[in-house]
Structure formats: structure tokens, C-alpha cells
Symmetry: C2
Subunit: 205 residues, 2 copies
């Protein structure tokens, strides 16, 4: 398994590679370092974990590196994602074009509230959360995003795990319990503000 | 300036320290490492940058470390934040209790759409974005979150910068240009999905 700091930098390298893939053939470790807020030594070490090496004085091949990182992240093929909770956050995520640009297709949005069920978000129509188990079993998606209130998060997680989902991105402000075969990543946007606050202080200093 | 990987870990240490501050007096580097998905050596190095040392065999003082990290992040005092864009994302962020728990108070939400202006989000009433400059100048807030479409992001950023705001969290999928005195942090939630996808693969392997 790669070190966590390496894993977290890979999407940032990929963002740069996606952005420049139409205009450039090679990229330097300095450019990759800037994109990830790291230094060139981090970059070279990260890529050596992937057994990927550049040509001295030329750099790394943009398309080869992009494909290598996609494979490492498990997104060489598009991934289907479901969102549970069609409230403010669920709708913002379902409408966000950035997911599709990075290889994720939102294929279903679920809710338990009659007022939400049947409403549309982009091309999708919100489905009753009771249909979630059947849809999972049909293989419609293999990743889920939790955008429900904290009180509902564990129950929805249990439903997803029972239906065979093994990767969950949890926005609800509560830790959910899952078996060892399931990976949950917790998002807390207030941490982004805390990191920003640190860098903001630098400027003020 | 601290290494970026250290800065990004500090909020994760802080989350643990906040969670245990009522029940425990000390914490070990292993516990901090688990909270941040790092190893104990990373923790000791990170805290040595803060000139903060534990007692061998006992660990670190929870309240002292919490206060030290808060000072380092610039959140020893509560920070006032404005959100620009009262759409799905802006509302989800304004309603999110996690911001207040981590020391940030959302004091104003702005929009340009007559249908949004005057509507309420929790205790706040959405204000016309034309009032943003006066409110900034009054010192109502010193950090801003951009939750507007990409086409509006640069113009709103210029307004904020002109009014003296130096820290901006940008959710719009576009890079905004700012002077050197201003810090912008770009959020892209699809990267969270990419990192999750990597860890999900491990389980499948
Ligand atoms: N982690 C972060 O950074 C962050 C940021 C913003 C919001 N949040 C959290 O995200 C969650 C959603 O926020 P929001 O603003 O969209 O809230 P919201 O109230 O607008 O939406 C929640 C939706 O979930 C639905 N729901 C409730 N129980 C359900 C169930 N069992 N199955 C399916 N759907 C169910 C509701 O009907 C509602 O439509 C909240 O828990 C909030 O605290 C987290
Ligand atoms: N970075 C991420 O991970 C992420 C995730 C979700 C959404 N987004 C982005 O966040 C933004 C908001 O998403 P949303 O779903 O809330 O969209 P939305 O359309 O629901 O809301 C946008 C709001 O901004 C307002 N607005 C437009 N121009 C404005 C201006 N000049 N001044 C003030 N307000 C203005 C609109 O009136 C609307 O209320 C979009 O750019 C979207 O792409 C990013």
C-alpha cells in the first residue's frame, strides 16, 4: 500500500495531467510538484512507488503517467456512483460537472421524503431509498455518497453494505461502523477552512 | 512555513483532540497517527515543527496541544465567514453544524438572484451581493467561501479582494486570479472520490 500522503497527491497530479494532456507531451517533476503543493523530491519518490520513471532532462510522458495514475487509483474505467440524500448537498454533488470530468458517473439519487422522490436533478429522477437494495444487487453502481443527516447515516450505511457496496464517501458528521471489507472516507469541509486559515495567516504575518 | 503534508494533518489531530478533550488528559503519538492516517514518526516530526514535545511514556497534554494547534492554524479566536452563492452548495454549507464546531461562524450569505435574496437559511437572511463590499469594509467577516457558478467566480473574487478579504475557499471549478497577498484554496470533491477509489481497490485486491 502507498503512503497516505502519496495517495492524496495522486489526484492532484492527475488534475494537472488532465488539464495539459491536449497541449503538452511531457511534464517535469517541478510542474507536478507545484500542482500538488509538494516539492520535486516528493514527486520523484511518489512516482518511484508506481515504478514510473522519467527521462533525465525531458521529464515524464503526460499520457503514460495519466494512465498509470488512473490505474493505480482504480479509475482506469468509469465508476458508477449513487448519492443517498437529495437535499442541498446531494443536489449540489449530483449537479457538479467535476465528478464526470474525473471519471465518476452519478447514476442514481435516493431519498426517503415523498416530496423529494420523483423530482428531477439534471437527467436523473430521485428514487425511493427503499429501491436502493435492488438497484445495488443489479450492479447499477459500486460506490456511494452519503448526504443524509447524521441520525440516518448508520442505517443507510447498513443498507448499502448489505447490498454489497464496499466504498462509501460519508459527509454526515458521524462516524459509521462498517465491516473490514468496506472502506469509508469521511469528508469534513471545515478542515479545508482550517488549512486555508493557516495559509491565510502566513500572508498576514 | 510548515510542510504542506504537516499543515493538512493538523486539522485531523485537532478533530481527535476536540473529540477526546472532555474525557482524557493525555494522548499518544499512535492515537494521533491513527486519526490522521499517518505514522507515529510523522506525528513526532509534525509536533517538533511546532516546538511541542510530549513526556516519554505519558504522551501529549490534550488541552495544551489543542490550544497550540489552534494558534498555529490561526483559529485561537473564532473566525467570521461569508458564503457567496445561496444555491444548493451554499445552503448546505451555511446549514452545516461542523463549521461552528470547528471555530467558524457563517455571518452572511449573498446571492444576486432576486428569488434568493431575502430568503432565510437557519438564522440568516440572504443578502444582495451588491451589499458585500460595504459589509466587508465594516469588518463583518475576513474569510469567504465561493459557491457560485464558474462564470461568476472571478468577478466575485475581484469584489472580495477589493473589499480587503485575503482568504477565499473556492468551490467553483475554475482557477481565480488574485494578488500575492490573497490566499485561495481550491476544493474539488471529486478528488475525495479518487482517493476513496484507491483505498476501495485495496480491499478488493
Ligand atoms: N462534511 C461536510 O463537510 C458537510 C458539509 C455540508 C453538509 N454536511 C452534512 O451533509 C448532510 C446533508 O446536508 P444537507 O444540507 O443536504 O441536508 P438536507 O436536510 O438538505 O438534506 C438531507 C436529505 O436527506 C434525506 N434523508 C434523510 N434520511 C434519509 C434516509 N434514511 N434515506 C435517504 N434519504 C434520507 C432527507 O429527506 C433530505 O432530503 C448533513 O448530515 C450535513 O450535516 C456535511
Ligand atoms: N468543488 C466541488 O467539489 C463542488 C461540488 C459541488 C458544486 N460545486 C460548484 O459550486 C458551485 C455552486 O454549486 P450549486 O450546486 O450550489 O449551484 P446553484 O446553481 O444551485 O447555486 C449557485 C448560486 O450562485 C448564485 N450566483 C450566481 N452568480 C452570482 C454572483 N455574481 N454573485 C452572487 N451569487 C451568484 C446563483 O444565483 C445561485 O443561487 C458551482 O460552481 C458548482 O460547480 C463544486
Amino acid at each position: 500500500e502507498l503512503p497516505r500522503a502519496t495517495v492524496v497527491r495522486l489526484p492532484r497530479y492527475l488534475r494537472l495531467l488532465d488539464d495539459i494532456s491536449r497541449s503538452r507531451e511531457t511534464v517535469s517533476s517541478d510542474q507536478l510538484a507545484e500542482a500538488a503543493g509538494a516539492n520535486a523530491a516528493n514527486v520523484r519518490r511518489d512516482l518511484s512507488y508506481l515504478d514510473f520513471h522519467g527521462v533525465r532532462g525531458v521529464g515524464y510522458s503526460v499520457t503514460e503517467l495519466r494512465d498509470r495514475i488512473r490505474r493505480e487509483l482504480g479509475i482506469a474505467f468509469r465508476r458508477n456512483v449513487a448519492i443517498v440524500g437529495a437535499g442541498n448537498l446531494g443536489r449540489a454533488l449530483a449537479n457538479y460537472g467535476g465528478l464526470s470530468r474525473r471519471g465518476f458517473d452519478v447514476v442514481a439519487v435516493y431519498d426517503k421524503d415523498d416530496a423529494a422522490i420523483g423530482s428531477t436533478i439534471g437527467k436523473l429522477s430521485v428514487r425511493n431509498v427503499q429501491k436502493l437494495t435492488d438497484d445495488c444487487s443489479n450492479g447499477d453502481f459500486d460506490m456511494a455518497i452519503l448526504a443524509v443527516p447524521a441520525v440516518a447515516a448508520q442505517q443507510v450505511t447498513d443498507q448499502l453494505v448489505e447490498a454489497g457496496i464496499e466504498t462509501i464517501l460519508n459527509f454526515a458528521p458521524i462516524r459509521v461502523g462498517v465491516p473490514d471489507t468496506v472502506t469509508v472516507r469521511q469528508v469534513d469541509l471545515s478542515m479545508e477552512l482550517q488549512v486555508l486559515s493557516y495559509y491565510g495567516r502566513r500572508t498576514l504575518a
